[in-house]
Symmetry: C2
Amino acid sequence: MIVARDAASLRGAVGGWKAAGQRVALVPTMGYLHEGHLALVHRARQLAPRVVATIFVNPTQFAPHEDLGRYPRDEAGDAAKLEAAGCDLLFAPPVEAVYPPGFSTAITMRGPAEDLEGVHRPQMFGGVALVCTRLFGLTGADVAVFGEKDWQQVMVVRQAVSDLALPISIETVPTVRAEDGLALSSRNAYLKPEERRVALALHAALARAAERLRGGATAAEATAQAERELLEAGFRQVDYVALRRESDFAPMERAGEPGRLLAAAWLGQVRLIDNLPL
Amino acid sequence: MIVARDAASLRGAVGGWKAAGQRVALVPTMGYLHEGHLALVHRARQLAPRVVATIFVNPTQFAPHEDLGRYPRDEAGDAAKLEAAGCDLLFAPPVEAVYPPGFSTAITMRGPAEDLEGVHRPQMFGGVALVCTRLFGLTGADVAVFGEKDWQQVMVVRQAVSDLALPISIETVPTVRAEDGLALSSRNAYLKPEERRVALALHAALARAAERLRGGATAAEATAQAERELLEAGFRQVDYVALRRESDFAPMERAGEPGRLLAAAWLGQVRLIDNLPL
């Protein structure tokens, strides 16, 4: 596996593959990889003969009070996992290779990006759209693979790709979960053992809310009940539990069209998100 | 010459050329074409076997009080000129084909984009970067050709292409001028006959300032003198006369490194811009 740390060596390697007519699939990550990330690599290998993964903890999607500085990192472990999974190239740049001196461009996302996560992390989706646009361009990838765990992020990235007419397609992979249902996340590393036991309530509450919605409950009833269950289980604060239409992220009042149940909640100092299809 | 009005038919035509290995050069314009635009088309024909021109008066680069509604238009005349100049495809979309319902992405440009034109038209360069990014993507062009008349715009577009790692290169063509030196501009159509006679003072004042700078004057002296000359000639207001370094648009105190003398001034209700290399 090639390891590239600047745009020139990245382009050199990928340029050779593209010149030989080989399609390139990209797996953008912030590192500290788990089985969920590796499922993206496996999907990427099905989509293209060449797979590029990126590890970059993107500062433009963090607010000053957020966990940029303490975000978990393990590049040596990540590289070993990626190579074993069949990744051809790891792009692990320093910040100045992604945002060089004189960098002047910012992106703002409106619409679905202003809802849910966008309310609680208003800086995030513009930063995600910016770094994805740049990584798509630097890698020249034909397709990028994202996890459904970050469902709203996938919607926003698809919107940015459509709006900016970027020459790339977006594929998704279902959320990978622990045996008890907890969605795999690099941020799970922050959880203390007793918090880890409480954390499974997030998936469980969403699953019960989905059952209630299928049984005829309104979204208002089902999400209020899920919020109560999360607080009773030991979550400190619930940012949202919400039902949104898959096509355009519009609120839904009850089950019907394809939808997603989404939640974000705090367990001590750790903010967890999850979602389920409905 | 093919005329396309939506993204699908544009992509259909260009896709065939790209599949046949033919490079595509793009000339983005707001229409009401003059010899300056046609010089861009001629340059584009040297750069690629296929030339696409776009005519789109982009609303996201106009402020509410500006001249979006009265911007001059003559699509039939433009199409005839483009076809005679050897353009292969004209993309002349309605606004909703460029910004369809649900469009959610905005771009903000900092750095050089916040200087000079950016001070007086703060919405403009973000809108320019957005529409260029989208038109680059929709056309799949390999190279785009811009006029040096809009020198600061060229710098900002180059910055956006670099920052977003867009797969396109930018070429420029020197400003085309009338016999008396007035830079050709679609907005010259706004000038009354007596204003048209005064307008030549813009190029003349810049040319004299360049002479003074070459003779050892400071930028402060030369630009102040040029501002006085413009007001004496009959310009109503001078937005700026300024000397900037070509490499990074930094202010220069006197001649030395490659620079540009730039000016914007009002003649009645018409705002004219021009620039000269130094």
